[in-house]
Symmetry: C2
DNA sequence: CTAATACTTAAGTAGGTGCTTAAGCGTTAT
DNA sequence: ATAACGCTTAAGCACCTACTTAAGTATTAG
């Protein structure tokens, strides 16, 4: 009998997990891309995607669960719009890591500067 | 006989696809997170992850294929480091969409301002 | 009314993802 | 040399994802 593995811990929370998982699919990114140009119906989102409507609806659910997209149904048409706060959350996660890396580079620079004229890898003083 | 679906078009290129797919996994994000604090060996990356080493190596391959991480083997130790340019690519993709959305909001605002003396949406005078 | 539109739900499937264990290989320590 | 270390590869399995088709539900048009 095989052991099952657990859902895995999510650094930054489960919300970030849903966000990046939503952005990981090309079709879903195309939908997000379209929605940055303004609200759209499900049919309008489906039009350029060469896939069936149910497939698009499933993608839409993923996007909604992630918080990237909201939608409201009026009459028989569902209108979708982007949720910029979610977009910014993902952006922020990456920015935080990038700046953390830059800071650790800074600390390395200070360390090397404090060490005096010890030669380093890559370039010589 | 069932029809197979195609790999799907990638808005922004296949590189972005690999990037977001790499970031979509919590374990992989944990590895990225660790690497922002400085270079690490494969064992060091594996230590906090409660999974076998081969699993970590597979994640590492995904990260390398995406361009997020580079590694070099010296002796029997492989040292991994983050590749900030890739991190910035992903960040930029999101930023581009967010600003596109903001600009379409601006255009809506100008349109409404030009249409009459109703300056904003959401609240009535 | 009926018919068309715009989704929506349900059920099923090929292929991909994320793990596992076991065995192998080059490098360093004793 | 022998053994330990650090990874690496291979094979296999459970689960998940991204689709499909078919049938169903409101809503609007004629």
């Amino acid at each position: 009998m095989l052991k099952r593995y657990e859902p895995a811990p999510a650094p930054g929370g489960a919300e970030i997990d849903l966000l990046f998982q939503a952005l990981a699919d090309p079709s879903r990114r195309a939908m997000v891309d379209r929605l940055t140009r303004g609200p759209a119906s499900v049919s309008e989102l489906a039009a350029p995607l060469s896939m069936s409507m149910p497939a698009v609806v499933q993608h839409l659910h993923v996007l909604q669960d992630s918080g990237l997209v909201r939608s409201e149904k009026v009459g028989r048409v569902r209108t979708c719009s982007i949720q910029p706060a979610a977009l910014r959350s993902a952006e922020q996660w990456i920015a935080d890591r990038r700046t953390a890396w830059e800071q650790s580079l800074d600390r390395l620079g200070e360390y090397l500067a404090g060490q005096s004229d010890k030669p380093e890898q890559g370039s010589t003083p």
